[in-house]
């Protein structure tokens, strides 16, 4: 082959590449296509993420109106870094428009509500979201079994029509906890792309919620571009996994406001505050000291070894369970930074870190009807055996659900009692746990039933 031909070939390829790349770049709209018009990001310091929550508390009420009015009237100054949500219409200034919008929200007037989404950008939903359903004409799609819990709390459970098939599909859900779940329709393919957009319209779904990772750009683009014609509201808040520090607690509180159902979410807020307070009291009263933990992660079908370890990641959809568990004086013995928040680690390595407690978190078992308590105990025993055989002598617990879910807070005190039994009162712990299951789920058992159920933290002391 002569050199001339090769040079010609190379030149042709480079020329084509440059032209094509230039053209593509020229066509590039910039941005990921799912963001809002202003590419601006917001840093906020409150659980209630809606614009209008001027005072950064957990409620959208007249206090917020007053707060804004005071600024407008000159009685106080506006610190835009500390109270960014006071600028409801994001025009850069605090005016009467801002508190009028808040008042409209409080009055339940139809309109648009803005919030800081999982990209830290300003997104919007129709307000109040309950209207969007038009009295049952339109339905809700919520990803995964854990996505049904918030619907129960807000009393919207009857409006869910579609689920995404996760590890536990609707045909495997415990029908007592999730009545009529077997009638839910399912997207087998978890990732939603533009292929699915028309289906959402055809199936009359107007609200969807889930994990950030499963909404493809092409789907979000279609939603955004066609929004005036069909208002499919994508709630860009994480419903169980955390995203950049946004926990499901934050989401739950925000959802209550979005749906104008603060009366329903208020009870939940109070409950969480109760749990937090109980923890604080216990820590203050006794000298508990910090203990170390590692949280191996399992699910039906997962390998027993190596295991995923819920580590301290830095990526977008992660660090879920550690948020809940670290409400207690626990620190992770594995300070691994991974993008996913997950690391696959050999059991040996886990032993090497020698934490005070191994808290095995899982998902699916609790809501699955095919997994009985005995089976679940066996499964956790298998895992525990691995560690015991390797000589681990610390505490081992098994939790039958992702503890980053709604039920996560509920069991914290019972777990804490096991670790620090004098500081945390046993009866109080069980009472709180029971309160959660009784008030916020469809659980019908009694307190003693609960203590004996698969929801109770399974403590393994076998040496």
């Amino acid at each position: 082959m002569d050199q001339k031909s090769v040079i010609i070939v190379a030149a042709v390829i480079i020329a084509v590449a440059i032209v094509a790349v230039g053209f593509m770049a020229f066509n590039n709209n910039g941005g990921s296509g799912s963001g809002e018009d202003d590419g601006r990001t917001y840093t906020i310091n409150t659980e209630l993420r809606v614009f209008g929550n001027a005072n950064n508390d957990k409620y959208l009420n007249s206090a917020d109106v007053t707060f804004i009015k005071n600024i407008v009237d000159g009685k106080s100054a506006w610190n835009s870094a500390e109270n960014p949500l006071a600028d409801v219409n994001a025009d850069g200034k605090i005016t009467s428009k801002d508190y009028e919008m808040v008042q409209d929200y409080i009055d339940g007037k139809t309109g648009t509500m803005y919030y800081v989404d999982w990209n830290k950008q300003r997104s919007s939903v129709d307000y109040p979201l309950t209207n969007v359903l038009e009295n049952g004409t339109y339905g809700i799609h919520s990803m995964f079994s854990t996505g049904l819990d918030w619907l129960i709390i807000l009393g919207l459970y009857d409006n869910v029509t579609y689920m995404s098939n996760g590890d536990i599909g609707p045909d495997d859900l415990d029908l007592e906890l999730y009545p009529n779940a077997d009638k839910l329709k399912v997207f087998k393919d978890i990732r939603l792309t533009s292929d699915h957009y028309e289906t959402f319209i055809n199936e009359k779904i107007k609200i969807t919620m889930g994990d950030k990772r499963w909404y493809d750009d092409t789907f979000l683009k279609a939603v955004e571009d066609n929004f005036g014609k069909y208002n499919l509201n994508v709630i860009k808040l994480p419903m169980n996994r955390t995203v950049d520090g946004i926990t499901w607690e934050d989401t739950m509180i925000t959802l209550g406001v979005m749906f104008n159902l603060q009366n329903k979410s208020a009870g939940y807020i109070k409950y969480i505050e109760k749990v937090d307070a109980a923890i604080e009291t216990a820590i203050a009263s006794a000298d508990v000291g910090t203990k170390t933990y590692i949280m191996p992660y399992t699910a039906p079908g997962y390998d027993l070894n190596p295991m995923y370890v819920d580590a301290h990641g830095s990526g977008p959809v992660l660090m879920a369970d550690v948020y809940t568990i670290e409400k207690l004086p626990l620190t992770s013995a594995v300070s691994v930074v991974t993008a996913d928040g997950f690391d696959a680690v050999e059991a040996e390595t886990i032993i090497k870190y020698n934490p005070n407690a191994l808290i095995i978190s899982s998902f699916g078992y609790a809501s699955s009807k095919s997994m009985t308590k005995e089976q679940y105990v066996d499964h956790f025993q298998d895992i525990a055996d691995i560690f015991r055989d390797m000589g681990y002598t610390g505490l081992i617990y098994g939790i039958a659900f992702e503890n980053c879910t709604m039920a996560g807070s509920a069991f914290l005190l019972t777990l804490a009692h096991s670790i620090w039994d004098d500081a945390f009162d046993e009866d109080e712990a069980w009472a709180l746990m029971y309160e959660y299951y009784h008030n916020f789920t469809n659980y019908k058992g009694s307190l003693s039933d609960l203590k004996d159920s698969k929801f109770a933290v399974w403590e393994n002391l076998w040496y």
């Binding site: 190379a10 053209f23 593509m24 941005g31 292929d195 499963w214 959809v317």
Partner: protein, 379 residues
Amino acid sequence: MSENKLEEDHILSADVINSVKDWNTDYSDDAQFADTVKDYKSSIVKKFIFIAFFLVVIVVVTSIAITVGAVNIGFFEVYEIIWQHLTGNIVSDYDYIVFEMRLPRVVAGIIAGAGLAICGVIMQSVLKNPLADPYTTGVSSGASFGAVIAMTLGFTAAFGSNSLVILAFAFSLVPTMVIAMMSRFSNASPTTVIMAGIGIMYIFNAVTTVLMLWADSSALNQIFYWQTGSLALIKGWESIPVMFGVVLFGVVISMFISGKLNVLATGDDSAKALGINADRMRLLCLVLTGIVSAAVVSYTGLIGFVGLVTPHIVRMFIGADNRYLVPASAIFGAALMIVADVIGRVIIYPSALPVGVVMSFIGGPIFLWMVIRRNSSAW
């Protein structure tokens, strides 16, 4: 004069002399010759009829594909909406769905199907290998590499999906360039090209695999989806211009060189003796197919089988003459792609199968059937 020379030669027999003299005469009035011409012309007409038929098929298939979708829009209403949009009179609620979602997707399918099909024809012809497809020279592993880089190193998060297209395209050209460079040191024979392609594929795949091992599960899912190939990755009309331009360029060029491809098929030596530099021709064809398939694949992901199976199917109807095979394959490939996409959207409603999967479901059995059916001499 020459008649005498022949007669004078005692070595030659009368039969041979007569045969040769006969060969040297004018045959234009010969009846049998006229028959042969007629046959030949009718065979060409048949080929054109097939091409016309494929054109009709593609028109029919396209017109149906646009009306298929989860949302129930009436057949004629769809065309009304398109007409309204084109005349600036946008009234329907479904305008976005029809004009911005379905139509670009179908158009992309046509372009992608045509592009991949002619790449397949050219590769099989030039490499004399019935198993060659657009990805034989490593375009797929290069594009994969670029796409995976984009998805795992945060380019798509930061700059959007165009960065994926750009990276996939850029890297998909690298294997072609490497093969071109390598041919300087050895040659550009079919074996060399195929083996170089395989070597490059392994290298790129290795690096890609490492990146995937370190990726988080969301990126992995995205990568997997892309590697299967789907028209859902097309983002409306903005994806169309580049793909269309490059594929059009490719189709036009390949029709120009289709005659040369026929010559190349007679063998490298014979081709050179007819005036065609086989090695150089092969190299240029590789570059052409590399660019065309790269342009398609960067947008749609790695849709397989169209490039492999279309030439074989079309050859059954049209024969191996590249001058007809190339355009017919382009049309058939486009139709095949559209059909596969429609099936994917409809068959497991409400879920959807990406077109790459459907294509494999269709392509695999067809391929097996062809293998069973044909006798070896018909390759």
